[in-house]
């Protein structure tokens, strides 16, 4: 475990942490102020979004996560307008998807599952997938830490 070797992978964790905390608390407050259904989902989305924003657009996974959130919001908004059209589009998208041959290497059969877990993992090659996974794990750890402490404070 040589920290010098790997310092390129970790962006400064304290700054990401503080930025995430600020953004998440702001979003959380906003959610609590507006009274709407599906609170759980909204809190989750807020947590994800603020994490991705805290990391910034340097990382592929944060970009993918932001895009996913935006796309979901957009789809929810437009679902009421044109349901049928979207369904057709989805079908087309499914047909266009192709299997990756990158994971056929020995010992990497399980990389497909990892691709599903890491946001934006479907489009990466194996090398950058592992890189992004490492960073993503780090950020998830900070997210869990911060959310735990928020929870602790809110319910003492």
């Amino acid at each position: 475990m040589n920290p010098k070797t790997y310092h390129h992978i970790s962006s400064n964790p304290s700054s990401v942490k503080s930025r995430f905390t600020r953004g998440f608390l702001r979003a959380f407050k906003k959610i609590k102020r507006q009274q709407r259904p599906y609170l759980y989902g909204r809190v989750k989305i807020a947590a994800d979004k603020s994490l991705a924003l805290a990391v910034g657009s340097r990382r592929a996974w944060s970009r993918a996560l932001l895009w996913k959130i935006h796309y979901k919001a957009w789809r929810q908004r437009s679902r009421f307008n044109n349901k049928k059209k979207l369904l057709k589009e989805n079908k087309k998208n499914k047909k266009n998807k192709k299997k990756k041959n990158d994971d056929e290497e020995v010992g990497f059969r399980h990389a497909k599952e990892l691709r599903k877990l890491v946001p934006g993992g479907e489009a990466m090659d194996l090398c950058s997938l592992l890189d992004e996974t490492a960073h993503y794990i780090k950020c998830l750890i900070t997210q869990v830490q911060v959310m735990k402490s928020v929870d602790q404070i809110y319910s003492f």
Partner: protein, 433 residues
């Protein structure tokens, strides 16, 4: 930019040393031919000094690897400098031998030393140089050989020529074996261009040596010639661009896997990439599930938003504070710069909710703290007599806060809790309407 500098550097030295050793073996062979033809004492002397020059190599290997990260950039020149065979080869290696091993006598003890030394050299060529510990062991064994050679100097004179050839063949065979091994561990021969200094100096070094021995091993020199080649293959390995790129990629992947292994707890014991990937996947899944669970928990919780945020930030800014504050201890945190910083937010909350229940101006601080919670109570749906008692308890806290802040004249007059609950209800009614 700095990716994998240290391992690449190590490997660079190792590969270079192997190449050097191989070339030295060739040069040795040349010299031996010379020997067989001329059989003169002076030549033997020079040959001996050459061998002692070779001897210095393994000790330098261990030297390099003991310094590992620190000396890599500068060490490339200084360590490999004296090994440069170019001027020494023309002179018959006298200077080098004297410089490196000054303690041994030259002239008469040459041949005896030869025999044993050749044995040692064949061993050094057979040793896989990527392993530092082994190199060290080799060094110690070689030292032993030296000692024994010094003891039994003058015994092997006659057998010298034959034995030299034999050992040479053996070294060749072992080199072949190593090549086979090298195919298996292809990644070792990778060199990244990022450590430019090392690369340049070494490539210069190698070019000089290859200039001498270019007739015999044209392949090696072909590989070493240009500066812009990022990756150098061992002999016998594929050198086309695809396989080189593949090797680099595999190296990168293994590096990432190592890093992930460090990151994921309990992943150290597992060997094999499949198991490690499984572990990583499990870990990511558990983390995501934890986030989901926490967000659920947070959605269910009734946040007393205002001072809690301040409290949290006070904790974030000054992590030395204990995690759970008693409600009265909060007042000390309120004086933090964090609190002052987040005052405007609270002001906004007040303005947004638009509660108009100002009883007297001294109330401002309290009203500010109260303003947000009632709304949250509305969406938590159970809005009856129950919460009022809770809010009473909370109001005590707020009261304490205001009290400690010393905002105004509240300090003298004790607050009745009645008007505040009333105001909450009023605000709730307002919200419902």
């Amino acid at each position: 930019m700095n990716r994998g500098v240290v391992p690449a550097g190590e490997m660079l030295h190792c590969t270079d040393l192997t190449v050097l050793e191989r070339q030295r073996a060739h040069m040795k062979w040349q010299q031996e031919q010379f020997h067989v033809v001329q059989q003169q004492q002076q030549q033997q002397e020079s040959y001996f000094s050459e061998l002692s020059g070779v001897f210095s190599v393994p000790s330098q290997v261990s030297h390099v690897q003991s310094f590992e990260g620190g000396l890599l950039s500068g060490g490339g020149d200084s360590v490999l400098g004296p090994v440069k065979p170019d001027p020494a080869l023309e002179n018959g290696w006298p200077d080098l031998g004297k410089v490196v091993v000054p303690g041994y006598g030259f002239g008469p003890c040459g041949p005896a030393f030869d025999a044993d030394a050749n044995y040692a050299i064949s061993r050094t060529t057979s040793c896989p140089p990527a392993v530092a510990a082994e190199a060290k062991v080799k060094e110690s064994s070689i030292v032993n050989h030296k000692m024994s050679a010094a003891v039994g100097r003058e015994s092997f004179k006659k057998r010298k020529a034959d034995k030299v050839h034999n050992t040479k063949v053996g070294a060749e065979d072992e080199a072949k074996d190593k090549r086979m091994k090298g195919c298996a561990e292809e990644g070792d021969s990778k060199i990244i261009e990022q450590n430019n200094n090392n690369n340049k100096s070494n490539s210069n070094n190698n070019r000089e040596t290859s200039g001498d021995t270019s007739k015999e091993n044209s392949k090696v020199s072909e590989v070493q010639k240009p500066d812009y080649i990022h990756v150098r293959a061992r002999r016998g390995q594929a050198t086309d661009s695809h396989s080189l790129a593949e090797r680099v990629r595999r190296e990168k992947i293994s590096e990432r896997m190592k890093y992930l292994q460090d990151l994921v707890p309990g992943c150290n014991k597992i060997t094999g990439k499949a198991g490690m990937l499984d572990e990583i996947i499990n870990y990511v899944q558990s983390l995501q599930r934890q986030v989901e669970f926490l967000s659920m928990k947070l959605a269910a919780v009734n946040p007393r938003l205002d001072f809690n945020i301040d409290n949290f930030f006070a904790k974030e800014v000054f992590p030395a504070c204990p995690p759970n504050f008693p409600p009265i201890g909060m007042s000390s945190d309120m004086n933090n710069p964090a609190y002052l910083q987040f005052n405007p937010v609270q002001q906004q909350v007040v303005s947004c909710s638009g509660l108009e229940m100002g009883i007297n101006p001294s109330d401002m601080g309290l009203r500010r703290t109260i303003s947000a919670p009632p709304e949250t109570f509305l969406d938590s749906s159970c809005f009856t007599l129950q919460p009022s008692s809770i809010w009473d308890a909370d109001l005590q806290n707020f009261y304490n806060l205001a009290f400690d802040q010393g905002r105004s004249t509240i300090t003298t007059t004790p607050f009745p809790s009645q008007p505040f609950t009333g105001s909450i209800e009023a605000s709730n009614l307002k919200m419902e309407m």
